[in-house]
């Protein structure tokens, strides 16, 4: 198990296009990957490879999120996804 906390900075939060980018990237790894909204008390980890689960979290901009993974490529997966979020998920 490997985890990392990052700040979601996209102006519009994690929806539509940014969410698709994120999920598409997560699917490239074998590990089980989860995303959790740290700023929402009681939020459970959601499957990062499921677009509907990620969207259902409705994560707004300026939110701390935890990315965790379990499996062979867990470290690479978390690092890559954290980078993607830091780079703004393809948004301006």
């Amino acid at each position: 198990m490997y985890a990392k906390t990052v700040m979601l900075k996209n102006a519009s939060g994690l929806h539509a296009r940014p969410a698709s980018e994120f999920v598409a990237c997560a699917k490239r790894f074998d590990a089980k990957i989860f995303i959790r909204n740290l700023d929402k008390p009681g939020a459970a980890p959601a499957n990062a490879k499921s677009i509907v689960r990620v969207l259902a979290e409705g994560i707004p901009a300026d939110t701390r999120i935890e990315i965790s993974a379990e499996g062979g490529d867990e470290t690479a997966a978390v690092e890559r996804l954290a980078e993607l979020i830091a780079a703004g998920l393809g948004e301006d």
């Binding site: 698709s20 999920v23 499957n47 499921s50 509907v52 689960r53 969207l55 259902a56």
Partner: protein, 569 residues
């Protein structure tokens, strides 16, 4: 032959075979398979997924070249179709609980759609529609039915439906849609906006057509007068055929003027504005100088909830970016009267047009108003944005509206969000009291736009929706032109821009008179632009001035119409 009557919302004439469109409704019952048959049910599900994916890929392929936005919708559908959580739950339901494939698909997809519809973010909640669309596609395939939607029509048809949903029109195979007839909707509905932006003749609000019309019946749609004929007789077909030819000939002739700038015969420059209800109508901005009226009601009508600041901001920004620096006039929410909102319950009024509508309603629902004003202000940094308040009747109204705008600015200041601090603020003049006070109003705002439809209704005390008082709704009356003169004079002498964005601005018969009264900014629907440019090119400024003077001196609407010649309305 049967004749039906409705509201013409996108002009033109169409005739052809009917495609009676009904959105697929999935009747799914709670069914289970026998023990030992789970694998068969799973195979049926897997085959359906492959078939659905094939359909989606073909749709993406057919749209990607001409319409990338449509292709993106289907890309999103493929993402949902292969979602591992949805897929996992369906497999578990089939294998673990022996649910039949269609029952499992229906249950799981519906649950996820519900989950998304509860998300606070509007844009995400709207994605529930996509989940339902994919669900319906799978169930239809499982039930062995062919795809019936408007995205892949076999040939040119007249579409007859109860209503068209945004998802239907977004994917519509528009080159094969000759005309649109629906039972519900009016000039400002979603279907109307799309029909106009695609140039498809449409008559909406025609009662009982889905019962009277059958697939393959022959229909003639006169979207100039609003008549729809079922199995028209020879004489009607001949008459409507001539009308269509004349309409098309006139369209073609006017189209030659489309790319020209707006000017009179002597070269006097005139700004041509575009009226829109959404970003989808911005194609025609290339032939126009500004957006004279961006109606924002459309945004509020899409879902059962009020659109949040973010949703509005991105819609306004989209229009500003498409305008490429040309001024965009956004009108704040104009509901009440004949227009209601699904997301806001309004008390029933005895006399809604004289009641709590538009600005009055916004001032009473301050949070609703402030949300919109913040979204507008935020979008103002993406181009040249002007904000306009509807239903201003006095200086009190204008001052209260400006006060709300200042409050919205302070809220953004606190959040450190940038906006155009010198944003132009204007009023829609549509109440006679505001016309009489035009000089005072001009002193306290930056511009005005005249809404001639409401102004005419209030000036003549005639409900424009009531056919019994049609004769009293006189948009060519001398009173109307005299009142317009007062408004133009006040703003011209205050050196503040004034435009007309009501229907009169797009009427070729009224154009010379308005130009003669001093108007230099005409704003209208895309379909009127070419015809209006042509009308303006026919007259010199000095002749227009003389004509306007004569019109204002006349005593009845009949006299004005006979002076202007032909049948001006």
């Amino acid at each position: 032959m049967k004749i039906f009557k409705g509201e013409p919302v996108s002009p033109g004439v169409a005739e052809g075979r009917v495609c009676l469109y009904q959105a697929f409704t999935c009747d799914v019952y709670e069914t289970y398979v026998q023990a030992g048959r789970e694998e068969d049910a799973l195979k049926r599900y897997e085959r359906a997924v492959r078939a659905a994916d094939g359909e989606l890929l073909r749709l993406i392929d057919s749209f990607s070249a001409e319409n990338a936005d449509k292709a993106k919708i289907f890309e999103a559908h493929r993402e949902i179709l292969t979602d591992e959580e949805i897929d996992g739950e369906i497999r578990a339901a089939i294998l673990g609980e022996r649910q039949a494939a269609d029952f499992a698909v229906n249950r799981v997809y519906t649950e996820f759609a519900l989950l998304l519809s509860k998300v606070e973010d509007e844009l995400i909640a709207a994605r529930a529609t996509d989940i339902r669309d994919v669900r319906n596609r799978l169930i239809r395939i499982l039930h062995g039915e062919k795809e019936k939607n408007l995205s892949a029509l076999s040939g040119p048809v007249v579409v007859v439906a109860h209503d068209l949903l945004p998802s239907d029109t977004a994917t519509m195979d528009r080159k094969n849609v000759l005309g649109i007839v629906t039972e519900v909707g009016g000039a400002t509905s979603h279907s109307a906006i799309l029909a106009r932006s695609f140039g498809i003749p449409a008559v909406l609000g025609v009662p009982d057509v889905t019962e009277a019309f059958t697939d393959g019946a022959y229909a003639t749609v006169d979207a100039i007068t609003g008549e729809v004929y079922l199995e028209p007789d020879e004489e009607t077909r001949l008459r409507i055929g001539k009308k269509r030819d004349a309409f098309q000939k006139d369209r073609l002739d006017a189209a030659r003027y489309l790319v020209d700038g707006g000017r009179l015969a002597d070269g006097t420059h005139v700004d041509i504005g575009l009226n829109i209800g959404s970003g989808a109508e911005m194609d025609a901005i290339q032939y126009c100088d500004f957006v004279g009226l961006f109606r924002t009601e459309f945004l509020y009508m899409q879902t059962d909830r009020l659109p949040d600041e973010e949703t509005q901001f991105s819609a306004y920004r989209d229009v500003l970016q498409k305008a490429g620096g040309k001024p965009v006039t956004i009108r704040t929410l104009d509901i009440g009267g004949d227009k209601t909102l699904p997301g806001l319950s309004l008390p029933k009024e005895e006399n809604p047009f004289l009641g709590c509508r538009a600005l009055r309603l916004c001032l009473r629902n301050r949070d609703l108003f402030l949300t919109q004003l913040r979204a507008i202000l935020r979008a103002s940094v993406f181009g040249e944005l002007w904000v306009m308040f509807p239903m201003v009747g006095s200086l009190d109204d204008l001052r209260a509206a400006k006060d709300a705008l200042s409050e919205a600015m302070r809220m953004l200041d606190q959040r450190g969000v940038p906006y155009d601090k010198t944003i132009k603020t204007g009023v829609m003049i549509e109440i006679p009291s505001a016309a009489l006070m035009a000089a005072d109003i001009a002193a306290e705002c930056d511009f005005a736009s005249v809404g001639t439809n409401d102004l005419c209704q209030y000036l003549n005390a005639a409900d424009r929706m009531n056919p019994d008082v049609k004769a009293y709704y006189q948009s060519f009356s001398p009173a109307m032109f005299r009142m317009l003169k007062m408004i133009f004079d006040a703003f011209i002498s205050a050196k503040k821009p004034v435009s007309v964005c009501g229907e009169l601005a797009g009427n070729p018969a009224a154009a010379p008179v308005l130009a003669g009264l001093g108007l230099r900014k005409f704003s209208m629907n895309a379909s009127s632009v070419a015809g209006l440019k042509r009308a303006l090119r026919q007259i010199r400024l000095d002749d227009a001035r003389e004509l306007a003077e004569r019109v204002c001196a006349l005593d009845t609407e009949r006299a004005v119409k006979s002076l202007l010649g032909g049948n001006p309305v």
